[in-house]
């Protein structure tokens, strides 16, 4: 994501399209709020080990589950662990899953889509056929299956989620590339003897960035949701590691007596998903004003 922002910032100076988009985005207060919340959360996640008020495993069994107070702003859980600390550490994992799994999806999807769209003809038909078939598979069930069989491994979680989410990305990029291929500057590039790989890398991929950025910001929340869903079922992140989904699932168990154990992690997850969705919507409107808002 930070990479995408860097590319975005860099491109913004050179071309008027990016400048226009930035201006349009600035007018969208909700999207800007989303961006700000997100940047804040990333900074918080990076600095958690220094900012967290308590140690991650630090217990106060005598205290037990206490409601929010001056010492523990968001209360403590049943083992007397500080909730704010646990939510901050959980956020690191949740955000990491969101970004890394999306990056996996991004990498596979963009390369696959670009190659299919650029090659065209039979190669394209074959490659897209494969995507169609994979689309029809019930992936959620497959992810659960993978997690059950190979144990709850965080690396596998990244790969499994990434492997599901690249399909739509590949389709979007392919469509974009198909229309780009007709452009004259591509013909010019071919005529001066550039190889297909160079053309894909130098001309095609940079020009598909707009829709890719938009779809990326919309993929991150759905990935985070998937992680939380799996962790909630007990199939994702395993203790002693923590994530928002896992905290919510603990919160549900004790919500009658200690509702704050459910409400705060839930609020945190919802706010993050909100921010990402607003930013994604805003970027879509900014980068492609004609695209219909669904």
């Amino acid at each position: 994501m930070s990479e995408a922002i860097a590319v975005y910032k860099q491109a913004e100076q050179g071309s008027s399209l990016w400048q226009d988009a930035w201006h349009r985005l600035q007018k969208n207060k909700l999207a800007l709020c989303g961006l700000m919340v997100l940047i804040l959360e990333i900074i918080l996640a990076l600095l958690t080990p220094w900012l967290a008020p308590y140690g991650y495993e630090q217990q106060d069994l005598a205290l037990g589950a206490a409601p929010p107070s001056m010492e523990h702003w968001l209360g403590t859980d049943t083992l007397g662990r500080d909730m704010l600390t646990r939510i901050m550490y959980g956020g690191r994992v949740s955000l990491m899953v969101g970004f890394i799994a999306t990056a996996v999806a991004l990498l596979i999807g963009v390369v696959y889509g670009a190659v299919a769209g650029y090659m065209g003809g039979k190669v394209d038909a074959l490659m897209m056929r494969l995507v169609d078939i994979l689309y029809a598979l019930p992936f959620m069930i497959f992810i659960i299956l993978l997690m059950v069989i190979f144990g709850q491994n965080i690396l596998l979680l990244f790969l499994a989620i990434g492997a599901v989410e690249w399909l739509t990305m590949a389709r979007i990029v392919r469509g974009q590339v198909l229309s780009l291929r007709q452009q004259e500057y591509i013909e010019a590039a071919i005529s001066i003897g550039l190889g297909p790989w160079t053309i894909i890398r130098r001309h095609i991929i940079p020009n598909t960035l707009g829709p890719v950025i938009v779809y990326t910001t919309l993929t991150i929340p759905s990935v985070m949701l998937l992680e939380a869903f799996l962790s909630f079922l007990g199939l994702g992140i395993q203790p002693p590691q923590s994530s928002w989904g896992l905290l919510i699932s603990y919160g549900v168990e004790t919500m009658e007596e200690y509702p704050w154990l459910l409400i705060y992690p839930g609020l945190k997850l919802s706010i993050t998903l909100f921010a990402l969705n607003f930013l994604g919507d805003g970027l879509r409107d900014a980068l492609d004003p004609r695209a219909s808002k669904d």
């Binding site: 019930p138 699932s249 998903l273 669904d294």
Partner: protein, 312 residues
Amino acid sequence: MLKFISGRLLQAIPVLFIVITATFFLIHSAPGGPFSADRAVPAQVIKALNARYHLDQPVWQQYLTYLGDLAQGDFGPSFKFPGRSVNEMIFGSLGTTAELGLYAMLVAVIIGVLAGVVAALKPNTAQDYVPMSVAMVGICMPSFLLGPLLVLVFGIYLEWLPISGWGDIPGDKILPAITLGASYAAYIARLSRGGMLEVMTQDYIRTARAKGLPEHIVIIKHALRGGLMPVIAFLGPAFAGLLAGSFVVETIFQIPGLGRFYVQAAFNRDYTMIMGTTIFFSVTIILFNLLSDILATWINPKLRHQSGGAES
């Protein structure tokens, strides 16, 4: 139309085959057999069990046997519940999940379409912003959070509704149906708003108004048909999502449905049960995608002349 349907059905066969094969070999590559993880069982008992379930044969032979049984609609015996077949367990709990899914779908479509149409009638006013903001909340609030919160408010604090079960106490179906349907209602609201906005600017709507038709006829008879196209295309994928959502909702509300069975089977490593339910879910998802495509072509005849209908 018939050609389109049969074409899609033919396309479903390789997909199903991949699902079956991939699931089978995934499960058989799992470390340890289904009986090895348990408490200390005498070696000869394990041997007898393995022999009974053909686990002593080479994998490819087991695979062929399984395919043969499957062709006759037999999912095999459950590993964890001796004496019960996977078929029994699937069909015993299917009704509950189907009912839950149906109610959730009704909640989603009725609330979603209403909210979307209302919002699209006066875009960029309060009538648009309020339902759309609520929809955004619905999208950002996962079911495993919404469900417990609803239980907390309506079940525990207000004591209006029962907090678990299915069909035991009147009203215990309300919260699960809302929990499962809410996020789809939100998506459908956004989709139908977008669709309606686009349709309302079309010439034929202006024509209908120019003919002097009352506004509600214009909306119901003319605009809805086109405006709801995106919603219908979404119903197929939504169904797949509902199935996954039922895992969570049935766990939260302790509903004895297929989703809860699947999660339990996953935890128990009941491999035949996992395999059977996976195949069963795949078939239903493929069928519902097909149904949603057929419905879409039926409503929009333009699609019939496009090749194969590979989009979706």
